[in-house]
Symmetry: C2
Subunit: 398 residues, 2 copies
């Protein structure tokens, strides 16, 4: 009876068949026949086509149940490479990955994003090219470049939109500039979306609905629903730093309103509170160090920030009904205090139906979430069913 809710037909092209292989597990023709309900000849033809474009490869023989053991096939992710770039306010991380976002070479360096964008992007292209060479590959093999920037990005054209901490980047044609230097397609998104994607694909690829929250000097989030990043009408979805916190004091915020989440629970607000108590704090990292060193006031301040963030996340849980909230960003490194505060409020303030299966966890990809997510921006497009079908058509036409 379950099938009644869904209508029977389902996608059946070679590109769709390939999606099954993205989990990395090898499969036989027979197992694909039973997994898809397609005929043996259809499955065999599609495996041939996917092998011809280099995305599948023989993966040895399965255990025989009598007679000649059947051949297995698996995703061949090293056919092409991807450049993932994570630019923060003061750092850059780059990685060359295969098509399964497995790292082949990586590097990181301090970098001031507020510098001239052409200088920054030229450096990215140069460092990226060297990294591709270091991985023993050439730019001809580059399937694309994914890049996360620390500010709002118009997803339709990849240009930053009034980015507060990088004002010189407003409207800059980042994809066009990097394309001219590297010769591959370029996808740009904001850093929190990119981290959300990286966490999704590394920590819980089977979870279709999750919310990633970055807690650092600023606070932001990335929304994954039905397995995809959701960006909203202007790409601003998840931008929760300036929502009002229920029950919080009316602290003035730099945005002009008061009682905003960032003004109450961001790294700057915590530092301000601890300095009033006599602590010597310059950066958000100093807060993390104090908490880890066992400072009670700092631990309490981070836990209260977690509660305040929890008040906003409780509303988000009702709105989005995620299966998982993943907490990342520098302050998530301050032990269990932050997440304990978040859990305390979210589980108390949300409806049972939305929280009965909800898990609230700390980021597991950590600092790598950004570059992996940036590479995934590319592989999701390169390996989309219709993109693969087009590769097959091109191959057959030549």
């Amino acid at each position: 009876m379950e099938g009644l809710q869904k209508f029977p037909p389902r996608p059946t092209g070679a590109g769709d068949l390939f999606q099954l292989f993205r989990d990395g597990a090898p499969r036989t023709r027979a197992s694909l026949v039973s997994e898809t309900g397609q005929s043996r000849s259809t499955v065999a033809a599609r495996i041939d086509a996917l092998t011809a474009i280099g995305l599948l490869a023989p993966a040895g023989e399965a255990t025989s149940t009598g007679g000649r053991p059947p051949s297995t096939f698996a995703f061949a992710p090293t056919n092409r490479v991807v450049l993932g770039v994570d630019l923060g306010a003061t750092h850059a991380r780059l990685a060359v990955t295969d098509l399964a976002a497995g790292t082949l070479a990586s590097t990181q360096a301090p970098l001031a994003i507020s510098e001239d964008p052409e200088r920054v992007l030229s450096w990215v292209a140069e460092t990226g090219s060297s990294l591709v060479a270091e991985a023993g590959r050439s730019l001809d093999e580059l399937a694309g470049v994914g890049i996360g920037l620390p500010g709002p990005v118009d997803h339709a054209n990849g240009r930053p939109v009034n980015p507060p901490i990088m004002p010189g980047w407003d409207g800059v044609d980042v994809p066009g500039f990097l394309h001219r230097l590297l010769g591959a397609p370029v996808v740009v998104d904001n850093d929190v979306n990119v981290m959300a994607l990286g966490e999704h694909r590394t920590a819980c690829p089977d979870e279709q609905n999750l919310l990633f929250v970055k807690v650092a000097t600023g606070i932001g989030s990335g929304v994954v629903m039905d397995g995809e990043l959701r960006r909203g009408a202007q790409g601003a979805a998840g931008d929760i730093g300036h929502v009002a916190v229920p029950g919080a004091p009316e602290v003035p915020c730099r945005c002009g309103n008061s009682g905003c989440l960032e003004a109450i629970a961001g790294g700057g607000a915590i530092a301000h509170r601890l300095r009033q108590g006599g602590a010597r704090i310059d950066t958000t990292q100093d807060i993390v160090d104090l908490v880890r060193g066992g400072d009670i006031a700092a631990g309490q301040a981070v836990r209260q920030a977690g509660r305040d963030i929890g008040m906003v996340l409780a509303t988000s849980v009702s709105m989005l009904n995620p299966a998982r909230i993943i907490v990342g960003g520098m302050l998530s490194g301050a032990g269990e205090h932050l997440i304990a505060g978040i859990r305390e409020v979210v589980y108390q303030r949300s409806l049972p139906l939305a929280t009965q299966h909800l898990r609230i966890v700390t980021s597991s990809a950590g600092a790598q979430a950004g570059v992996i997510g940036a590479a995934t921006l590319v592989t999701d497009r390169f390996l989309a069913p219709h993109a693969i079908d087009a590769l097959i058509t091109d191959k057959e036409d030549t």
Copy 2:
């Protein structure tokens, strides 16, 4: 340069081509060649296939630019019919529509949802069958049944989950029961999602990101992102009746928490406040009547409810970045007071990037949103690209 952000290949099957026709406009082969970039022979073959399964039909001749005028083709939505069912706490609305959700026959009746579900569903099947006959069609032509219920529904299997106002329905196999009586696929969702879908497809089908808010005795919302309803992990997305309102008094709520949106701004809360001021109010409709009659206290109470709802919607706007908020439900009938209160707070409390193109409007589909949305649950599946491709394959195989 714009294409760099998106990867070049795009879907090209007959089912994809058909989607262009869903706007109802007739097209020539030549206009489809330029719209899709496909070859003339490919377009011609796909039009033939879509005509053979009865979803396209010739639509006369376009204006000639010399020589024989070119033939046009258009969506033929009357090929099959759909039954849309909107069940509320105390009413039922049913409509037989074509595949473009155009109404062919409709009816409504009082109905107590708290009654035995088998009795209610048997009545729905009987009334639906009569309505199909009234439209001059037979049950063989029924593409599916869509149904909205006033409570949480597990979208995976179409069964209600602990529905507060219809406790006898918990876990009932609604799709299986109706399928046995009507012989067509059945899709079930909660009433607010169904209204959101109905508003989306009738009022603003080109808007990809919107939030529909129902304000009546209870308060709930439906989330459309990237053109589709988003239901979250357990189908509870949009369930905002019990989120805490920033800055609101700690009024106890029936859910056990206090300061919940419904306890402060729902029809019951407004009625309670007005009764304390001496007004005679039994139902939410009485509030609407008082406001329409010019009662100042009632108008002020509804406007304040709008402001309280606005506090929660401001957070939702930051989270989802919708292009439009559509306000429906019985209290939206109380003139401009409700929406004025919502606008006042949302525009003040949300970030400029998220509100610069945001429109906040009153429902235009009104009471019909439910049945149209219920029918759309079916047509979206029946007319999905892969479903159409499967229909074509079936036709060619016979």
